[in-house]
């Protein structure tokens, strides 16, 4: 059986599993759709939350970004896990006590203003749509590889599948489907990592192998990797090269954004008890950590494997891989397969029959190149987003592992994309149209507007996904910045302040959202349309602050504006003060109410 058939089999089987579970669970109770997780144990709920949360960015993209940058991209690891601390301590238990179903409802009630609710909906739509663009990038890579077509075709097929998947609707809400997706996703991520860790270090636990010894040389793995990449003229893997201020702000933006993303927060609204909301956040992080502790090992080991593959005879001394080897040897087959997607490419620029991979921007290597007759780096394209999916092929693992990874990548991308699309469509139809514009809309009309909103969101995301503002995880990082600047501060002030009033909250959210959005558009192009940007992240407007790191500043602006405007306007009414007091104590939490 060839690889293509095996991939198809794994992807098909995993889909059949999700649909089967959805049908089985639905027969039991239809109300599960609305109250995902009610009556479900915190451990199960944590696992489902982990599947909901870990997207194409975590699964497909993150390890690749760490692999090619090393320590400097640790921000992704700390940021996307540290946010759960904020969520568990500052938001989850109180929002559960409040007992409604959506983030915008809390903001609307706490700030006693329909305007606040609409502004929250707008913030939610902007952040979620940006997030979907990142998912579409990942979906395009995964479908491109697994159907062996170019990236654009892969993206269009992926968009159609996501749409069909999201319209099935209820599937997303069923906790047990997500538990199955988590299991597929985590096995697909860790099994190849275990194989590779055994090959390189002899340690079956990748997270320990990363800090263990490289079996072939006897040196510590990371010391070996530093030496290998240094020889090729790249930055040392473990060293700190990035700007420190930007790294701190980027990490903080990802953390705050995690705690401000509506589709994650929503999961804590519906756990049975306030005390369960606290435990659930912990369990979710346990399951997320299984992937996040493995990811840095995947990145480092893949980087070492790729470098050694391009210089198969013990570094530069032994000579580069030859074109003949790439075309003829089975262990280089992955390069030809990925070349078809257009995301990997090489070119024998100096016509010496070999492919030299090195950093041609490094002065020492330029001198060596002149001496040896090299004419620049010949591994001309290596898209970071392909690394995790290509990893089992690079390490020459059995075909079934490769099929499993294809299924895992799609599970991660589809579950999150579908979840976000549902969040967008319910925000438009329920909060915006039924809640404010036309309260007398019929149920049929509400459903139709939800479908239209979903179709529009997916069309926009697909169009922008063709020319994404960055690799999947970078685009997703922008979404986190937007959530950090708009939603998190409003929620936190709603709980921890008995002063902030309606005008203050609305002004704060708008200021945070607009300033952050403008900063992103100035660097990534207006509405992410290429070539409309005035600055770039290589040379940002504000010193060293990249557009992906601006969310933390946006959040600070939100807090400051809210305090200043509150000081100038009418104080909070007594009944809202009482509401804040009641949100702060668990007693009397009852079950979550629909409205």
């Amino acid at each position: 059986m060839d690889q293509f058939t095996i991939n198809l089999l794994f992807v098909g089987a995993s889909f059949a599993l999700y649909i089967g579970i959805a049908i089985w669970a639905r027969a039991g109770s239809t109300s599960e759709f609305y109250a995902a997780g009610r009556g479900v144990h915190p451990v199960t709920n944590g696992m489902a939350t982990a599947a909901d949360w870990m997207s194409a960015a975590s699964f497909i993209s993150m390890a690749g970004l760490i692999a090619f940058t090393g320590y400097d991209n640790s921000s992704f690891l700390m940021g996307w896990t540290g946010g759960y601390v904020l969520l568990a301590l500052l938001l989850a238990p109180y929002l559960r006590k409040f007992g409604k179903f959506t983030v915008s409802e809390f903001i609307g009630d706490r700030f006693y203003s329909p305007t606040a609710r609409i502004v929250a909906v707008i913030c939610l739509i902007v952040a979620s749509t940006t997030y979907v663009i990142g998912q579409m990038t990942g979906v395009g890579v995964a479908f491109g590889r697994f159907l062996e077509v170019d990236n654009t075709t892969g993206l269009l097929i992926g968009a159609a599948v996501v749409f069909a998947y999201a319209v099935l609707g209820g599937m997303k809400g069923v906790t047990y489907t997500q538990v199955a997706q988590y299991v597929v996703l985590i096995l697909a991520y860790t099994i190849p990592a275990i194989f590779i860790s055994l090959q390189l270090t002899g340690n079956p636990i990748p997270a320990l192998g990363l800090f263990g010894d490289h079996a072939a040389s006897g040196e510590p793995l990371l010391a070996k990797l530093d030496a290998v990449v240094r020889e090729l003229g790249f930055n040392e893997y473990t060293a700190h090269h990035a700007d420190t201020l930007n790294m701190v702000l980027f990490t903080l933006s990802l953390m705050i954004g995690t705690a401000g993303l509506p589709h994650v927060i929503m999961r804590f609204f519906t756990v049975p008890k306030v005390s369960d909301a606290r435990w659930s956040a912990g369990w979710a992080l346990v399951f997320i950590a299984l992937l996040y502790l493995t990811a840095p090992a995947v990145g480092a080991m893949a980087r070492l494997n790729i470098s050694e593959m391009m210089w198969p005879n013990g570094g530069i001394e032994g000579g580069a891989v030859t074109v003949q080897q790439i075309e003829g040897e089975a262990r280089y087959d992955w390069m030809a397969t990925w070349q078809k997607t257009g995301l990997l490419d090489w070119e024998d620029k100096n016509g010496d029959g070999a492919i030299q991979y090195y950093n041609d921007a490094n002065a020492d290597l330029q001198a060596m190149a002149a001496e040896k007759g090299w004419e620049g780096n010949e591994l001309t394209k290596f898209n970071r987003d392909i690394l995790v999916l290509a990893n089992p092929e690079i390490a020459n693992l059995p075909s079934w592992v490769i099929g499993l990874v294809a299924a895992g990548g799609l599970a991660a991308a589809l579950s999150t994309a579908a979840g976000l699309l549902l969040a967008i469509s319910s925000a438009v139809s329920h909060d915006l149209i039924k809640g404010s514009i036309n309260p007398s809309i019929s149920e049929k009309g509400e459903l139709l507007s939800a479908r239209i909103a979903m179709a529009v969101a997916i069309a926009v995301a697909t169009y922008l996904g063709l020319n994404p503002p960055g690799f999947a995880a970078q685009t997703v990082a922008l979404a986190f910045g937007l959530a950090a600047a708009s939603i998190f501060p409003a929620l936190m002030m709603g709980i921890f302040s008995t002063r902030i009033n309606n005008t203050g909250a609305v002004a704060g959210m708008l200021a945070g959202l607009v300033v952050t959005l403008v900063y992103i558009f100035l660097h990534k192009g207006w509405f992410f349309i290429p070539d409309t940007n005035s600055f770039s992240d290589a040379d940002p407007l504000l010193g060293t602050v990249k557009s992906t790191s601006f969310g933390a500043i946006g959040a600070a602006i939100n807090f400051i504006v809210a305090y200043v405007v509150t000081g100038m306007t009418k104080p909070l009414p007594q009944e809202i003060k009482d509401l804040v007091q009641s949100v702060r104590v668990p007693r009397g939490a009852g079950s979550a109410q629909d409205h």
Partner: protein, 86 residues
């Protein structure tokens, strides 16, 4: 709901636990992982230094401990102040 003085004692105890937890949260990630990494460079861990470990693994493990500790202490605090869910 119990009386207001007990509620405000409960709330300040909660805020105190949150503040201590967030200080630890910031020290392991922004501190040991990024800003204080040069200070930890003398402590070798598997071919690199302790700061690298905190940035890529250690902080995640501490985050887990913080959340479970918070859940446990708060659920106990709820009962002590009589504000737990009956």
């Amino acid at each position: 709901m119990s009386d207001n003085s007990s509620n405000s004692a409960y709330w300040s105890a909660n805020v105190r636990i949150i503040l201590i937890s967030l200080v630890i949260w910031a020290i392991v990630s922004f501190g040991f992982g990024i800003l204080l990494r040069p200070m930890l460079s003398g402590i070798a861990v598997g071919g690199t230094d302790l700061g690298f470990w905190f940035a890529q693994q250690g902080s995640i493990i501490v985050f887990l401990a913080l959340i479970f500790n918070y859940a446990w202490r708060m659920n106990k605090l709820d009962r002590e102040h009589g504000v737990d869910e009956e």
